[in-house]
């Protein structure tokens, strides 16, 4: 994997996705910083991994289920305790649709 470099367009694209307005003079600075950080990741390719199986988990757990039975959880009071706004035992939020 050759070292990754970011172009000015890459930086602008990422800024747009993150909804950040950056001034022209900062594009240069960020381009270098981001290239350094992303490029740093490519140092991982220097590791010798022949014979090492890919490992994404160590517990061996797959599809952990429990029986679908209803048990006591929390009281309505407890559940609503941190709600900024409540109404008759419901969470009250701002309307999403008009």
């Amino acid at each position: 994997m050759k070292k990754i470099t970011l172009s000015k367009d890459d930086v602008l694209h990422i800024a747009k996705l993150a909804k950040l307005n950056i001034s022209d003079k900062l594009i240069d600075k960020y381009q270098h910083q981001m290239t350094d950080i992303v490029g740093f990741v490519s140092e991982l390719t220097e590791l010798k991994t022949e014979g090492v199986p890919p490992t994404s988990q160590v517990t061996g757990l797959v599809n952990v289920f429990r029986d679908d039975i209803v048990t006591t959880s929390m009281s309505q009071e407890e559940v609503l305790a941190n709600a900024p706004k409540k109404h008759h035992g419901f969470f009250l939020t701002d309307a999403v649709f008009k």
Partner: protein, 502 residues
Amino acid sequence: MLLDLSIKQLSEGLKNKRFSSLDLVNECYESIDKLNPEINAFITLLDKGEVIKKAKEADKKTKDNILQGIPFVIKDPFSTKGIRTTAGSNVLGNYIPQYNSTVYQKIIDAGAILIGKTNMDAWGHGASTENTDFNPTKNPWDLTRVAGGSSGGNAAAITARMAAFAIGEDTGGSIRNPSGWCNITGLKVTYGRVSRYGVISYVSSFDTMGPMAKNAEDCAIILKQIAGYDNKDATSYNGIVPDYVSLLDKNIQGKKFRPKSVKRVVDEIAYMLKAGFKEINFLDDTFSTDLNRAKLICEEIIRRGLKFPWHPLNGMRVDRVDSELFSLMKESGCYKVSFGIESGNQEILDRINKGIKLEQVIRAVKLAKKEGFETFGYFMLGLPGETESTMKETVRFAKKLKLDMAKFNITIPLPGTEIFKEWDEKGCIKTKDWAKYNFYAPYEAIYEHPTVPHSILNKSYRNAYLAFYFDPSFLLRRFFGGIKRGVLLRDIKLFFKTSWFN
């Protein structure tokens, strides 16, 4: 201060009523009042009155758990019912959980006393506890430095004696890093070993919950309490939890032989010579474990033209030498070789699995003398199965070899060795206060020898030196050797300085 003690020591002190839980909690508050304004280890301190009440209650109960009555702190992503939990962020500045995280529940079930919720990088995103919405935590050792993170508040609190232990969270070093930077002990457990239920996550497939305390034993004690399957955490590992505390005395000595490279060794030698050192001695145990490597080192010294006297300080094995090695050693500047011989009785040698034959010893010493080396032999008295007569045999053997010097040491059984295990099982070990196990410490305080009484051992020890060093042939050898090497006057002086008849 009391909070310098380990959990084990605190627990014993509480049990024996040398001090109380209230004393410990008061000490925490002393430290907090004095130091926390600058260190800033906490996001939320519990109501002092409530905590003191809990301490007094703990003092009234009988002690049935090692963590009972001991003050602790917990990092702020752990849900604590009724106690503000922020995970270091203002977004949760007013959040009061309605349930306990499993780990917290286990610790308070054990009877430990919570002092407060500690500072952290918000959401765990950080490695220095600077990225917190509640002002950075400073390193108690140097307030101009960070405490590490993201469990910086925990590490600082333990260091500054604001608690005896802490529960932290580690995803990418968040327990290990602050533990290292604040000089305490922290453990990142295997994922799934400790329940994540009720802990505000950072990376759900990486997060682990673990102990932070002053030493490994404390961490083992805490881990035993918090590890285990939790059906409320679908990633919780359902397997046996080892008894960590009883596994603490396992030998950590590995079986891998990892030597420095030939180039590295000779680079260091060259560096030391350049710095002005005149003689360099090798402390490898033993120098020629890898016979080939030893030869290569000598060749490299010769190749680089480094001229200096040296000798392998630790005894060499007599079955790991040959004439080629000796000739290379001589050429590269070596002037003395020592051998680990131990005993002149083959049975005794076999019993300790020394793996050498007396003939090999004779051969090795002969080869060394032929090359012109000063020869030195290390012997042990009081080996397993030894008697007065076997020890006399050892001394006779030493004399027969015509060594230039001999050292006789009384056996000290070291923990982790076969001898120690054998003698411990026989009931011969008198103390396990490791501070008493030193090279030249009085062995009588450490063990009773199974086959030879102390008086005989002491007599044999003294007689060994007298027999070897006052042997006429030795004296002559030493006299003429002294003339040849130009050290006769020094030798005579040392002879009279030695306390032979102690």
